[in-house]
Subunit: 419 residues, 2 copies
Amino acid sequence: MNIPEYCQELGLKAQAASRALAAVSGAKRDEALRAIAAAIRANAETLKTENAKDLEAGEANGLSSSMLDRLKIDDAGVEKIAKAVEEVAAQTDPLGAVLEGKVLPNGIKLQKLRVPIGVVLIIFESRPNVTSDAAALCLKSGNACVLRGGKEAVHSNLAIAKCVQEGLATAGLDPNVVQLVETTDRAAVGELLRQDETIDLCIPRGGKGLIRAVVEQAHIPVIKHYNGICHTYVDGDCDEQMAIDLCVNGKTQRTGVCNSTETILIHKNAVINGLAAKICEALVAKNCEIRGCEQIQALCKKAKLATDEDWGEEYLDLIVSIKIVDSIGDAVAHINKWGSKHTDAIVTKNISAAEKFTKLVDTANAFVNCSTRFSDGGEYGLGAEIGISTDKLHSRGPMGAADLTTYKWVAYGDGQMRG
Amino acid sequence: MNIPEYCQELGLKAQAASRALAAVSGAKRDEALRAIAAAIRANAETLKTENAKDLEAGEANGLSSSMLDRLKIDDAGVEKIAKAVEEVAAQTDPLGAVLEGKVLPNGIKLQKLRVPIGVVLIIFESRPNVTSDAAALCLKSGNACVLRGGKEAVHSNLAIAKCVQEGLATAGLDPNVVQLVETTDRAAVGELLRQDETIDLCIPRGGKGLIRAVVEQAHIPVIKHYNGICHTYVDGDCDEQMAIDLCVNGKTQRTGVCNSTETILIHKNAVINGLAAKICEALVAKNCEIRGCEQIQALCKKAKLATDEDWGEEYLDLIVSIKIVDSIGDAVAHINKWGSKHTDAIVTKNISAAEKFTKLVDTANAFVNCSTRFSDGGEYGLGAEIGISTDKLHSRGPMGAADLTTYKWVAYGDGQMRG
């Protein structure tokens, strides 16, 4: 395979498909989405068989339990994947919405209309459901997409992509609306990121290595979906049981996901009143490894000493770092220094502490008295999400179909000239 | 001057200033803006004297008439600059707006709040008013900014920046909220574009060379404010006088600006009925040089033959390229191939031609029956504009203060855990 030629061709085909898609109605796009969901259900056995190949290879290659968790597709998984596509179909069409409209003093009628971005390149790692989620969201929003999955999910991705193609064909749409990159050669990523004439946006989802490689090579705009170094800060004035519950839920309810809590910050008052010790106890009871500051070590025998590396680490596992801080200001400073601008929560009874925290922490999702695990497009009512943006431009936090659109100013006059 | 150290320090100072700015009220920011406008008026003589130095150097260096037009500040220019800052002050505060808000089924109160981006780097070329316009829009939207102007306007920019500093001081704000890069060394651009730890966004405004250099070197997100290769397409079915007027106004009302028409496309029917010849005549009467296709040459003796380079050229001068096309589809294809996704207009009486044109032309501003010159933040009611984005991400077309913001999801719960 000649990779530069192959990638250029992918881009050209996608651009042509995206232009044709501009003439396709929302009803037709939804029909294709429902056909994709049906194809996924009809091919459940194939999906599981192909997924088993990836799981076997993953175990042989020593993938971590959280990686295998992300990779696995069982019966419930197939249904979840199909349902996510149907949920996207059921959403309101984001296209054509009039975002603003006015008549200018000179009589020109000006409107800001929502339109597709064009061609979106999604580069992702282990989760195969991204193949159908991304395809569905791009199709819903009128974009063509080029999908590049990780090699550890290659069989699952190809099987899902086949269902997507089947659904597009059933609805009579151009199959090039959704293209899965067929090679897992790394050189293809660099080549795709050079197709700025045909690809309008790249969304990378994955670990630091992937994101760094994309940012360094990209000649097209990128919205990063980076790691989640999420914090839960336990304020001095808080409900004790709520603090324990939210720390435990944030960390342990599911570990292989970007919105789980990786670092817990605890106000020093909670050392004196014993809450810090209870939080550690509750986490240890869930078999969670604790890496703490010296004060944490003093009150929890099982805690290891945290190094600076721990504060910048996304464990994606039953491990948590914990630090005692002197004030809410210190908590904010710690998060702004070490966090990944993803999701950060405060547990407090104090209204001004809540306001200070949500205002000063530079994060996409600032939570008061709830688990960091709620940072999710589905929970926010956006339907399936393309990911969670840790960037500030265009979209921030969970991204749904509407985040894959841009706008166009359309003006109607009757001969106005500028004087 | 150690340029890498200087640039790093600029970024750090800007970041600190932007964090302090988070606590400054909208009323205080507006007070500072009014103080800046007052300082500009009070220093009118100095501004003109410093501007004269740039004009003299520009003439000596052979700048084109359009470049000198962009550079010049006379009494009316000073007043225009001051007034633009006051107009920004008079706008509604974009910050804190609740863009969306809902109560989730689990009781979590979720809001999408408008917040500043952080630190914005503006890299621009000859127009000195960008110094105050950019400073005003960044301050209005709660951002710190680093401004890097072109060396041909260095005296004017420094003089305006001094007024900005004076205004900030009068209002008691950190002067580092607005920093003008003091060196015109090109190496500083590359260094600034590496400050991804402190600078959140770069907006380059200028010609191809500048934009290309920025995109290639940037490690931070960029919103390009590229050139304006704007088209006016004269449909077969149109009001003749309106077509002549809009072609002449689009091209000649002001030539040194990005929203002037650079290429006129004319439907072949307008050759037969004589309209094409009349349009050429009217442009020649305005001393406009015509570079046309062979058909245009046949009907206008003064027309030179256009080459492919003409279709991709932003003249910024009294020169226009003109081409006869067979259909609206050909016009759309020409614009999508050669245009810069800036502003493109159709002159037509036909409603379906208007809809086809506005839907299929991939442009930030699609106009029907009005001059391309209306593509402007002021005309759109956005106040002073930071520029006109030719990108599709985050902001498209004229960008005002609200385009310099992002959002943050803020959620209030009462102990919700994910199950």
